[in-house]
Amino acid sequence: MLAFTLRRAMQAVGVMIAVGIISFSMFRFAGDPVNQMVAIDTSAAQRAEIRKSLGLDDPVVVQFARYFGNAMQFKFGVSYQFRQPVADLLKERMPATLELAICATILAIVFGILMGVYSALRRDTFVTKILQAISLIGISLPTFLIGILLIYLFAVVLGWLPSFGRGDVVQIGWWKTGLLTASGLKALIMPSITLGLFQMTLIMRLVRAEMLEVLRTDYIRFARARGLTTSAIHFGHALKNTLVPVITVTGLQFGSVIAFAIITESVFQWPGMGLLFVQAVQNVDIPIMAAYLLMVSLIFVTINLVVDILYTVVDPRLRATISRPA
């Protein structure tokens, strides 16, 4: 088990180095950064001076080692547009994105599983048909459209919820949270639904399909033949057997939720990392883009690692396979 975890961790480090190379090469392919910093009338001598002071005339390998070493300490350089360290910008923006992503994911898991189980157990009811229709909408409508429709309905027509922003935030250490104020919570509702709807319908469909599959198995029939209660069979025996694929999808989707928060954050002008990234792209702010790439990959890699370990918690058969070295 420990060997397995270590092996997976090593692989994760490998992935991060590869991503580091890609994000580093962005600087080199996106033109000369010195040109981005200086004015038109700066002399060649001054340019060379700046280049030397930034270490840009060192060999590529040395530059990469320095870049990667800095990245390990969360030093990502200075943003071209804000003239601030990128690390500070990300630190300031990250709580907003994480709060949004976690809320959306919790929403997706809770309602996705409930709806999936319900529609699997009560296959032919009216409610199931409605849930199926909702899931079809959720899976096929693009995120920005759902966001805009929600804004139109709840902010413009009904005026119940704010159409943009994060509401009031409370500072806890360096973490600015919107979860502790009424306006912050209200502002969180629509973006969370927008961001989580796709995952929710995905989880619902997955749980439903898996549940129908599991309910047909012999061990469920045997559980019924033993006279166990219906709820013990459905929730104790059947649901647990659907969890492995649900954990996989939810885990991988959480990475996507953070990465694709870009769209939701743009629609709702949510002051998170995604919005920062969009602005960075518009202004060719390479340090932010490179750092964002690293951050998102780190989150993906970490989640993958956690998901792999979670499997073994749910399914004892995998524990046996894993402890045997591959």
Partner: protein, 328 residues
């Protein structure tokens, strides 16, 4: 005469499909006494398993019990509400399925599955149920049960898993065990052990056993009586010795003739020509008539009802006085 543990009277099971209604079980009656083992044989699709599922109340939609009645120790159970039937399942009727590899939930320790089942049917505490689970595992012949109780199903071999399944089926001391092809998925050497285990448990606890199989060898070894099923009906029923040595129904004759023997010429096994009709195309009269060498006009028109012949009962016009005359 004491009351039989199980009494099935004129049971009918139907499967309603969009096009038509298929009758999987068409009016069968039999009884099993305390401590008795009734073997049920027949080809695939003869209705053996469906009979077992009907008794334990696990016929799923679109199937339904269309007629007849089932009595467990004198109490009618086929029309009980689902909640009451659930309490009978596992407590008064235990069921063992064919494939031990898939009968156990792979995600739970076998001890947890035993304790859950025991606690569903008794008032035992967690510790009490666990102690009972260990005793049960010992009784079905699992070595070192106090250690193995914390193992997961995948850590057992097929034969051992079937023992666990049996332990689960008997954990509330049921009056009746329905074993649906309990040895089909197992090695021949393990089959004998499982069969003798079921036989021993039935004897020790006075449990009635309904043993569904298509293996005549298993029936001959374990059962007291045997019912030969064909197309949802009982063709012949009687004590194993009599039915094996002196089968009456032409189908039973064919079945017994198809048992390979160690002595004599075994170059070719006897076989019954043709195959069992599909449920949607059961011929009028006796369902066996298209394959029967002795069929005559009446067999194609009128369905034969069971006729007593000594210890046996046979559903065939050949044994009807009137039938015999017209056959001659």
């Amino acid at each position: 005469m004491t009351e039989p543990v199980l009494s099935v009277r004129n049971l009918q099971v139907e499967f309603v499909t969009r096009r038509n209604t298929l009758r999987a079980i068409d009016g069968i009656s039999f009884e099993i006494a305390k401590g008795e083992v009734l073997g049920v044989v027949g080809e695939s699709g003869a209705g053996k398993s469906v009979t077992g599922l009907a008794i334990i109340g696990l016929i799923d939609r679109p199937g339904r019990i269309a007629g007849g009645s089932i009595y467990l120790s004198g109490m009618r159970i086929d029309d009980l509400p689902p909640q009451e039937m659930r309490r009978i399942r596992g407590k008064r009727i235990g069921m063992i399925f064919q494939d031990p590899l898939t009968s156990l939930n792979p995600l739970y320790r076998i001890g947890d599955q035993l304790v859950e089942t025991i606690r569903t049917h008794t008032n035992l505490s967690e510790q009490g149920a666990r102690k009972r689970a260990i005793d049960l595992l010992a009784e079905v012949g699992i070595p070192a049960p106090d250690k193995r109780i914390d193992a997961y199903p995948h850590e057992f071999s097929g034969g051992m898993r079937q023992r666990v399944v049996i332990a689960l089926a008997i954990c509330a001391e049921p009056e009746l065990i329905i074993a649906d092809e309990p040895t089909t998925a197992l090695d021949v050497s393990v089959q004998a052990q499982i069969i003798s285990l079921i036989k021993r448990l039935g004897r020790d606890h006075g449990t009635a056993v309904m043993l569904v199989t298509h293996d005549m060898g298993v029936i001959a070894e374990t059962s007291d009586r045997v019912a030969v099923m064909y197309s949802g009906r009982i063709a012949e029923i009687g004590p194993v010795r009599d039915v094996v040595q002196n089968p009456l129904h032409p189908y039973a004759k064919g079945l017994m003739g198809a048992i390979p023997t160690l002595v004599g010429d075994a170059a070719r096994l006897v076989q019954i020509p043709g195959s069992m009709p599909r449920l949607s195309a059961i011929p009028p009269g006796c369902a066996f008539n298209p394959r029967c060498a002795f069929a005559f006009d009446r067999c194609r028109i009128e369905r034969p009802e069971p006729i007593r012949r000594g210890t046996q009962a046979v559903a065939c016009h050949l044994y009807d006085a009137a039938g015999k005359e017209s056959a001659a």
